[in-house]
Structure formats: structure tokens, C-alpha cells
């Protein structure tokens, strides 16, 4: 599956948390590939483990982790084998960075935003403060924030501007991969569309790839080259964006797509009955089986990942 064009390749990534009730299988055997200057969308509903996936990729782990393994190849190198110090020096915020969920509220209120954007440069590349601030100013131009905002504090900026600052902060060290965790969920429609314009431009102008984590199917299509659908901790479909938005294969993807209200087409949205399973004790076999209109006897066994003309689907329907 991996070709020379693969920047990030994830295989069997697994992250379980210990709780009083037992292990929570938040991320369970996740796989996908990401090419250079590409964007992959991780699509899933709340509680499917998509934010845990971001944490697993950047090793920002809480203390109650009970299992953390798998392979993550970044430019051919398995970063899961690195020790913490190597990882900190070579990966986190150097080659892979994050725009956290509700990023606009994650800025430090007592530091000027320019200093915050410059900080990763000082820490990771050891450059002088003036030089780092220059770099920050360049990043501000890329994301469309006026350069004189460098001296402002977070509270002086609107939500959209703060979000842009958080994006600038993730880009300042010129990482190869930026993970965006729900980058626009708290923003207004117009601001959201503006941020996506910025991201599209950045993808064209800079050597950067995006992992966009979101539950919003409609806006995810603004950036997607590829789509990976996550359900109950697992990836159920990885597809090319054009084929996915035209006709997804996995029954869950199909139903998810049918639940999107459309502005420009008069198509009554349909909902999925039932609820996703608990990740404490997920059912054996296909995790979507209980809600699936197409389930049959086979579904009580763990479905294989089937390759259908380049689309990977974890479903018995496509296996013969």
C-alpha cells in the first residue's frame, strides 16, 4: 500500500485507557496513509475515538493509558519506536504539530500572540527571539492576520483571528504534518468558510499535509483529498474524496452521508437509529452490525479490510 509518495503511514495504531470499569478501546487498529501536500479527513461522531487518535499520533497521552502500540511511519521512519526524548526533539512540533480542539481558547491570555507563535521556533530550532518573531510575522501573513497583531493579546482578537493565530503557531516550525482537531466547530458560518479558504491556500503554498479530524461531513469536503471514516474506535472505510462524496461503500458511511441536510438539493435527510456501542465492551464482530440494515450471519465475526478498487472497506459485504 505504501508508495514513495507516502508521507505518513499508520498501521494498527491502538490506544486503550484504563478506567474503573475496565479498558476503554478508544483507538483500535487504526490505519491510513497520507501523501505529501495532501489532506486526509478523519470523519466520525462524538465518542468514536477521533480526538484520542490525535493524541496518540502526537503522544500527548494522559496517565491512564493501558495499551499504546502500532506502527506510525513518518517519511519511512517508525516514530513509535523512538523514546520520549527523541520523539520530542524530532517529531512533536518539529515534523508534526496540532491545532487543538477549541484552539481559540487555548492561547495564553498573558502572553502576546506573536510571542506565542514564535515560541516553538525558539524552543525547537534554538533561534534568537527577533528571528523567531520575524518568522511569526511571515506566518501571520500566510494565515491572513495583520502583522501588527503580533503585539496583541488573545482577548483583543475575534474568534476567527484567534483560530488563525493557532494555525500559525502550528505551522511556524514548517512541519510536514499538521493535525487539525475540529478547527472550525465553534466558529460562525462565514468565519468557518474563511478559515477553510486559508487552509486551502496553505496546502497549495507550503509543503504541508493536513489530518483534519471532524464530525462535520459537509465542511470536511472543503479540504479533503482522502476520507477515513471512524466508527467505535475503528476505521471502517478509507477512500478517495471524489469517490467517497459521490458514493461511499460502507453501510455506516452511506447512512452518515444520508443524514446530512443539504442546502442545494431537496433531499430529505435520514437518521441512523440506535446508538454507537460503548467502547468499554464493544461487541465482537462488526461494531456497526447492531444498527446496520444490511447485516447478515457473517457480521458476528470480525470483518476483514477489503480492497475495492483502491477503497479500503471493513465490511463483510465486499468480501468474497
Amino acid at each position: 500500500m505504501s508508495t514513495d509518495n507516502t508521507l505518513l503511514s499508520i498501521r494498527d495504531l491502538t490506544l486503550y485507557f484504563n478506567t474503573q470499569k475496565g479498558p476503554v478501546q478508544a483507538v483500535d487498529g487504526v490505519f491510513f496513509d497520507l501523501g505529501y501536500k495532501e489532506a486526509v479527513v478523519i470523519l466520525g461522531e462524538s465518542g468514536c475515538g477521533k480526538s484520542s487518535l490525535a493524541k496518540a499520533l502526537l503522544r500527548l497521552l494522559p496517565r491512564n493509558v493501558s495499551r499504546y502500540d502500532g506502527k506510525v511511519f513518518l517519511e519511512g521512519e517508525n516514530i513509535m519506536e523512538m523514546d520520549e526524548e527523541q520523539y520530542r526533539q524530532n517529531v512533536r512540533w518539529v515534523r508534526m504539530s496540532l491545532v487543538p480542539q477549541a484552539a481559540m481558547n487555548s492561547l495564553n491570555p498573558v502572553l502576546k500572540v506573536g510571542e506565542q507563535v514564535a515560541e516553538p521556533m525558539i524552543i525547537h530550532h534554538g533561534v534568537k527571539k527577533e528571528e523567531a518573531l520575524n518568522q511569526a510575522a511571515k506566518m501571520f501573513q500566510h494565515v491572513g492576520v495583520p502583522v501588527d497583531f503580533l503585539d496583541r493579546y488573545a482577548f483583543e482578537l475575534s474568534g476567527g483571528m484567534r483560530q488563525r493565530v493557532a494555525i500559525a503557531m502550528s505551522l511556524v516550525t514548517a512541519p510536514a504534518v499538521v493535525i487539525l482537531d475540529e478547527p472550525t466547530s465553534a466558529l460562525d458560518v462565514l468565519t468557518q468558510a474563511n478559515i477553510f479558504n486559508v487552509l486551502k491556500r496553505l496546502k497549495k503554498e507550503l509543503e504541508v499535509s493536513f489530518v483534519l479530524i471532524t464530525h462535520d461531513i459537509a465542511t470536511s469536503s472543503e479540504l479533503a483529498d482522502r476520507v477515513a471514516v471512524m466508527y467505535a474506535g475503528q476505521i471502517v472505510e478509507v477512500s478517495d474524496a471524489h469517490r467517497f462524496f459521490h458514493e461511499p461503500l460502507h453501510p455506516y458511511s452511506r447512512m452518515l452521508m444520508a443524514s446530512v441536510p443539504r442546502l442545494r438539493a431537496n433531499q430529505e435527510p435520514e437518521y441512523i437509529t440506535g446508538q454507537p456501542p460503548s467502547l468499554l465492551n464493544p461487541p465482537t464482530g462488526c461494531r456497526f452490525a447492531a444498527r446496520c440494515p444490511k447485516r447478515f450471519a457473517k457480521c458476528s465475526e470480525e470483518p476483514p479490510v477489503v480492497n475495492v478498487d483502491g477503497i479500503q472497506v471493513k465490511c463483510w459485504l465486499y468480501s468474497n
Partner: protein, 328 residues
């Protein structure tokens, strides 16, 4: 679609809701003009949507309708009673005729009350003293919102329910007094895509069954189409366009409505291939809104020497009422 034969339930006339700003706690420092001259009628059994971005005044408008804010100027008539003048018993009676569905279901439900107590509360407040009668009505309303069997839920606390179930409880509480009007403030914005549709369909089902009038407040144009008859678009404290929903989504007239539509995505891979054309800037401060048309600093179709000077009147274009000089 604007059925003139239907009787008016709620009539809002030139409503202004201003909040005074004070300097050092007592000196006057201006007003936040949250709602600035809004006029409309709502008929029995009609659903309308109020669409706008955060800070456009839609929540202030709703709170004023609920009697939580006092109008600065203008009046709200509900079944021929002036809401601004109601006090005591009359105000309580008015409030029992409007249901309120909050945005964040978890925040709207008291964490220390179980479902039964939450649903009984409005009945207790409105003087239904017979516990058997209360229980009967609680069970009936649970059936209405499809939380069955009721016994599985009555003794649960809000944190034991999923987001969708919590929102059903909020809806059940809003309709238990059999109101004539339900005000739903972003009822699905905190929910997942698939649950969102389920809750909206539930609300629509109840609306049709009981001929409820519904005011649906949202920032999401794509859900409006499946849920309301008429849409009011708000910008910076004003209603800029009023139109029947299908006509609005096919031919938006006001430049701001056009911008909102352009910014709304449908799932389509081609979206990634093009930039969206959007007005720059941000919504204005409501303390000192721009002169003339409030959208003029961001408007691509601004007419010099007119839009920044004079406030636009409402013009009739087909079935739309548009507050824009383009349609003079």
C-alpha cells in the same frame, strides 16, 4: 406560504432591545443595541426560522419573547395581550403557553434531578397538585418524544443519558404544558450529525401533530429548509430578509443572505478545488453599529453615497421582504 387566513398568535412590532453599558458601575456609556427594530407576525401552527451568526441579536430577541428581557421600545403581542405589561400570575400564565428548548441539553437539565422530577417541575409550578395526574402526563409526554418504555428512563439522571436522549427530555419538558408556541434556540447544534436529523424530525412531528407554532433559531441554513415555512435572516440586530424557505434557498436577495449561502457547504469533493468568495471583515459592534445599512462595510454590492448614509427600508421583491437599497 404566508397564509393570511390564519390567525396571528404572536405579533412583534418595531421591537428594540438595548442593554445599557455603564462606566465604573454608574456612568452611562452607551447601549448595546442587540435588537434594533424588528417587526413580524407569527400565526398559529406556523414554523419560522431565525438565521444569523453569533452576536446578531437572535438570542436576545428570543429571550425578549420569553419575557426574560424587557423591550426598550416596541411591543410584543401574544394573543392580544401585551407581553411587556404582564406581571405576576399573568406572566406565569403566559410563560406556560410557550415552551423553550435550550441549546445545550446537558446544561439545561438540573444534574441533581431525575427525569421524572425534571418533567414534573413545570406541572408543580403550574398548580397540578394530583401526583397521579402528574405521572400520567409525564408518561404521556415521554411517549411523545419516543423515550419508551418510560420506566427505563424516569429514574435516570441527565448524565446517564446520551446527548440525543437529553435533548428529548428538554423537548418533553417544553411541551408538557401543551404550549401554543415553542422557541427552540439552536436545538441541535451540540448534537452529532445523525442524531441532529432525528431530533429535528421529532420536533417537526410534534409541531404537525399539535399545530404548534415554532420559532427555530439557528446559524445553520442547511437544516432550515427541512424545518420551517418562513425564514428571517438577521444581521447586527436587524432582520435583513424575510422570505418563504424554498424561495430563500433558490433566490436569496440580500447580499448578506447570499454570503451566508455561499459559505454553507454541501458534501461535495469539488469544494476542495475552489476558494469560496466571501465578504471580508467581521460583524460590527452593536454598541456603535455602522451608519446606514449595517452590512455596507462588507457588502460587495454597496452603492456609494447611499448605503452608508441612509438606513434601507424594506422592499418587496416577489415573496421576499428585503432591507436593501439594491431593490429600490
Amino acid at each position: 406560504m404566508t397564509d393570511t387566513n390564519r390567525e396571528v398568535l404572536l405579533s412583534i412590532d418595531d421591537l428594540h432591545v438595548w442593554f445599557e453599558l455603564r462606566r465604573f458601575g454608574f456612568g452611562h456609556a452607551g447601549y448595546v443595541k442587540a435588537v434594533d427594530g424588528v417587526t413580524f407576525n407569527l400565526h398559529y401552527g406556523e414554523t419560522i426560522a431565525i438565521v444569523g451568526e453569533s452576536g446578531c441579536g437572535k438570542t436576545s430577541l428570543m429571550k425578549t419573547i420569553l419575557g426574560l428581557n424587557t423591550p426598550t421600545r416596541g411591543k410584543i403581542m401574544f394573543e392580544d395581550k401585551n407581553v411587556g405589561e404582564l406581571t405576576g400570575e399573568a406572566l406565569r400564565d403566559y410563560r406556560s403557553k410557550i415552551g423553550y428548548v435550550q441549546q445545550d441539553p446537558f446544561g439545561a437539565l438540573a444534574p441533581f434531578m431525575n427525569v421524572q422530577r425534571i418533567l414534573e417541575e413545570p406541572l408543580v409550578i403550574n398548580g397540578i397538585k394530583d401526583p397521579a395526574e402528574r405521572e400520567r402526563r409525564v408518561r404521556k409526554v415521554m411517549e411523545e418524544v419516543k423515550l419508551t418504555p418510560a420506566d427505563d428512563f424516569l429514574h435516570k439522571f441527565p448524565h446517564m443519558l446520551s446527548g440525543g436522549q437529553q435533548q428529548r427530555i428538554v423537548i418533553a419538558r417544553a411541551i408538557i404544558l401543551e404550549p401554543k408556541l415553542v422557541v427552540a434556540d439552536e436545538p441541535v447544534s451540540m448534537l452529532d450529525a445523525s442524531v441532529r436529523v432525528e431530533i429535528l424530525k421529532l420536533l417537526r412531528g410534534l409541531q404537525e401533530k399539535y399545530r404548534l407554532a415554532v420559532i427555530y433559531i439557528t446559524h445553520d441554513l442547511s437544516t432550515v429548509r427541512y424545518f420551517s415555512e418562513r425564514v428571517f435572516v438577521m444581521y447586527a440586530g436587524n432582520v435583513v430578509e424575510k422570505a418563504p424557505v424554498t424561495s430563500l434557498v433558490h433566490t436569496p436577495r440580500h447580499p448578506y443572505t447570499v454570503a451566508l449561502m455561499d459559505a454553507t457547504s454541501d458534501p461535495d469533493a469539488d469544494n476542495a478545488l475552489r476558494y469560496r468568495e466571501l465578504p471580508g471583515g467581521e460583524p460590527p459592534s452593536l454598541v456603535n453599529p455602522p451608519s446606514g445599512c449595517r452590512f455596507h462595510p462588507r457588502c460587495p454590492k454597496r452603492i456609494e453615497n447611499l448605503c452608508e448614509v441612509e438606513e434601507p427600508q424594506e422592499f418587496q421583491v416577489d415573496e421576499h421582504l428585503v432591507a436593501c437599497w439594491l431593490y429600490k
